[in-house]
Every structure is written in C-alpha cells, then in structure tokens.
C-alpha cells in the first residue's frame, strides 16, 4: 500500500515536471500559440454554426432540439479537447514504432504507455476546451438545466469516461503499428468518425449503426447516452440516470483492453536498425 502511494507520488512528480517543460516549450515558440488560439476554436465554432443552420432548417435532429444539441456538442468537444491533451500521441504511435522512439521509454523506470503520453503532453489541446465550454454552457442555459450536485457529478464522470473511451480507441488504433510495422496515421479518419458520432445524437442513424456504436465500438457512450440521461431524452436502447456511470465503466474497460493490446504489441517491438 505504502509502495503504491510512493509510486503514485513518483508519477505525479514527473507529470508536474513534464507539464512545466511543455509550458516552457510553448513559450519558446510564441507564434505557434497565436495560430492555435485562432484556428482551433474557429473549427468548432464553425461546426456548431452548421448545427444551428441545420436545426433552423429542419426543426430538430434525431428527435433532439437546438438547446439539447448544443449541450451534446459542447460536452463532446470538451471530452475531445481532454483527449487531445492527454492522448493525441496515440495518433502518431506508428511513427514512434517505426523510428524506434520507444527505445528511450523502455530504458527508463516508468510505465512505457505513461511516458509515451505524458512526456509528449499536448498543452495546446486547451485551445479546444474554450469553444467546448462556451457551447456547453450555452446549451445548459438553453435547456434550463438545474445545476444539482448529481448533475455536476454526472458531468465530471461523463467527461472522465468519455476521455478514456477516446484515449482507448487511439491506443487501439496506434498499437496496430506494432503488428503491421507501418506508420499509418489514423488520426484524421478517427477524428472524422468521432466528430460525426459524438457531436450529433446517434439516434439519427439506422438501428444497425446504433448497435455498432453501442456495443462494438462504444462511441455512443462518449456523449449520446450520458447526455440523454442528463437531459431526460428517451431513446430506444438505454435510459436512466446511471448512464454517465456506465460511460465511466466503459471508459475504464476500454483503457484496460487497449493497454493490454498495447503491451502485447510492445513485446513485438523491433526498435529501428542503425
């Protein structure tokens, strides 16, 4: 027990140092910040503008009204931003595999997956948080939600679970590189699919697709089910106030499975010749 706490302390200590260094790196290249600050939020504000246009033209999407869609969209962008901060490196895992960059992590006394994500922590992901929070708060106001302790808990639990689900998917896709030995960057495709399935209610898709998104690739749990639960919107598959906690559970399970798959891959790691 004491040993576990000491280890946790060690990881926290390294994490703080890594964050410090990430901030220093950002300050080193100030022009980059300006670029990200403009392009990243703009991307999502535009995305939301499209939703507004669609709703104004058709009334509602998959049985969801404008305010509810804003709530869903905002929460989804927030968990997207969190996954960009902590797990975006998963997109580029193939390069690390091919270039032999895991050598360094393997010769240091910390978990390999931890080092891979945290020594490359992407502080710039914060720029995605801003539009996410703006749209989410806007959605909360439009839906006139009562901010109860349960609601706050549901939001926090959903965000943690959703971030873990996203991270798990990135790790799964990235880890295939250990087996294929190719540096395919799945990032763009993943992003496309995730955007289309988490920023809109999946109830607008055919039932077969809903089945896949619920059980096979559990993207439905990133935003659709927990938000349905928080806003009390009925769907055909799952309902109830516990859904955000299921999201957390799905996230933890996804992470464990992805971690296992990564570990299997790592044993096949071939480094790079020199």
């Amino acid at each position: 027990m004491i040993k576990a706490f000491r280890e946790l302390g060690h990881y926290l200590d390294v994490t703080l140092q890594v964050i410090k260094m990430a901030v220093m790196t950002i300050i080193e290249y100030p022009a980059n910040i300006a670029g990200w600050m403009i392009s990243n939020p703009l991307q999502f504000i535009m995305g939301f503008a499209i939703i507004k246009f669609v709703v104004e033209s058709f009334g509602e999407v998959g049985g969801w009204n404008y305010g509810q869609l804003a709530f869903l969209y905002g929460l989804s962008v927030i968990s997207h931003a969190l996954s960009m901060i902590f797990f975006v490196q998963g997109w580029f895992m193939g390069y690390y595999v091919i270039e032999g960059e895991f050598d360094r992590y393997l010769t240091r006394p910390l978990g390999v997956l931890y080092q891979f994500f945290f020594t490359n922590i992407n502080i710039f992901g914060i720029t995605d948080l801003i539009p996410g929070i703006l749209v989410f708060v806007y959605g909360c106001v439009k839906c006139a939600v009562h901010v109860t302790p349960l609601f706050v808990l549901q939001v926090i639990v959903t965000l943690i679970g959703a971030t873990l689900i996203r991270g798990g998917i990135y790790i799964f896709l990235g880890s295939t590189s250990f087996h294929t030995r190719s540096a395919t960057d799945f990032g763009q495709y993943t992003q496309e699919i995730m955007d289309k399935t988490t920023m809109y209610p999946i109830s607008m898709y055919p039932e077969s697709l809903q089945f896949i998104l619920t059980y096979l690739i559990p993207i439905g749990w990133v935003s659709f089910y927990p938000v349905s639960s928080m806003l009390g919107i009925e769907n055909n598959i799952y309902n109830g106030m516990l859904l955000p906690f299921v999201t957390l559970l799905v996230g933890i399970v996804m992470m464990c499975l992805a971690g296992g798959y990564f570990t299997l891959g790592l044993a096949k790691y071939e480094s790079a010749g020199n």
């Binding site: 200590d13 140092q17 890594v18 260094m21 220093m24 006394p109 020594t119 020199n274």
Partner: protein, 321 residues
Amino acid sequence: MIEVRNLSKDYKLKHKEPGLKGAIKGLLKPRFETVHAVKDLSFEIREGEIVGFIGPNGAGKSTTIKMMSGILTPDKGSVLINGEDITKHRKAVVQNIGVVFGQRTQLNWDLRLGESFELLKHIYQIKQDEYEKTLDDLDAILSVRELLNKPVRQMSLGQRVKGDLVASMLHSPKVLFLDEPTIGLDVSSKYALRKFIREINRLRKTTVILTTHDLGDIQELCERIIIINHGVLMEDGNLSQIVDRIAPYKTLVVEFYDETAPEHEKCEMTEHAGNIAKYRFMKNDTTAAEIIADLSAIKSIKDVSIEEAGIDDIIRVAYGS
C-alpha cells in the same frame, strides 16, 4: 554482474517477389522467412569491465545490446543484470543502467540542456545534493556545466553527444550501454568521449558495454572484445590474446636498393612493389632478426620496419569466416 544465457531472437521477413503479380501473390499467400538475428548467445560480464562488441553491419550486435538493455524482448534465453531478469523486472532493472544509442538523443530538442537533466532527475528520483555532486564529478571529466543553458537544437553533434553521455550517467547507473557512440564525431570529441568512458570506469567502477566500428575505440578502451557475426558469438576474450591466436604473425617491411626481392623459406611475401617487399612470418616460427640476417646475406638492405598484426586483421579473419 551481467549474465546472458542462451539468448536468441528471430525476425520474420515477408518473402517478396518482383512486379505486381508478385505483390498480389505475396498478399494472398504470404511466405515468411525467419532470420536468426541472434542465435543462442551466452556470456558473462563482470563488474567494472569494458567490453567491446564488434561485428559487421547486420551481425546482431545492436539486437544483442538492445535485448541486454531491455528494449527488445528475447525469443529465448534471458539477460540477468545483478541477478535480476530485465525482461521480467524491467522497471527495477533499468534503474541501474544507462543507455546512449548513437545518433538518437534523449534530450529535449526545444529546451536548454539543463531542463532535460531536470526531467531525468525526477524520473530517476535523484536527490538534489546527489544530483549536484554527480554533475560536478561528470563536469570534471567532460565540462558540461557550460552547456547547461544552451538549447539542445543549437548544439553541435559533439556537444549533444556530451549532453547525452552525462544524461545517461546522472542516476549513477552500474552499467552503461553505448551503441556506436563515436559515429560521426570529430577527433577531439572522440577523444573526449573515450576519456569519459575510461574515467567513469576507473572512478565509478561503471561496467561499460559498447558496440563500435571504430577500431580506435576498441584499442583504446576495451580489454575484452566479443566478436559477433551472423548472430553467433565468434570470439570472446582478451584483445591481445585473440590477436595472438587469430593473427599470430608479424609483417616485416624491407626496402632494397633495386626492384628484385629474394624469397625467404620461413615467410610469405605478401606484397612487392618497387623497392619495397613485405614478408609475413609466424611469431613462434622465426624472428625478424633472423629474416633480416638471412636476407641481408643475399642482398643489401636499405631500411626495415615491422608491422604488428592488429585488430583490423582480426576483424578481416573473423568477418571472412
């Protein structure tokens, strides 16, 4: 200190055939060839040794050193460092090893060198006073403190390798692995690096394992060499003993006054160009003095010199087989 037991590692290579037809065939019915990168390697390394791994490109040196440092998982066999299996207890064992791999750096490109050291201090949980003391010790050998405030991206290769060497020693590892550390370095950086290795070995009893193609590194640093070819251990032992065994000859270079050179029954004329002839003789067979006496009885000699068999002869013999 380090025990390597029956270490083996195979790579699977997809057999490729030419053309589109070949590519489709490879897709539908893939055929794999197994390449034995390392085959049944066993040896032991004692504390405080400096061991040089040599062998041609693709011989399995890097694969071996990467298995020894926990980067690659062996297919068979084990590597024990201080009695602990590195594959099974990676995190504990790597606390005691340092690694510098040729062209690859573990330093943060964007920040000053000191920042990379700071991160390592946290990763290896080095106490501040210990850290300062180690840095002082290393600075005395390699003067690195003057580089602490320089961003790594602005460093020359020589400076960066210095930074990497110090980085790998900050946590005072008992074993240091170096994979082709002198590659691309100029003479003075190479000299500094060799001095660093000798000094940490002498002062801190660090066991050093290095692979190199630079024979100078081997001659100046290594008492013991391990020659690997085709993944198999060819030679393992004291450098001068291996030289004596594999290349037990010397070469006598004789300059005459004209272009004819007489043969000698106890040696082989390996080269003859112009006035100069080279005679190779076995050390236990005869002596240079005897050959000079015999030759000068037949023809007058202008000048002589003796070439010792060296490490490059060993490598020629070992790689050739």
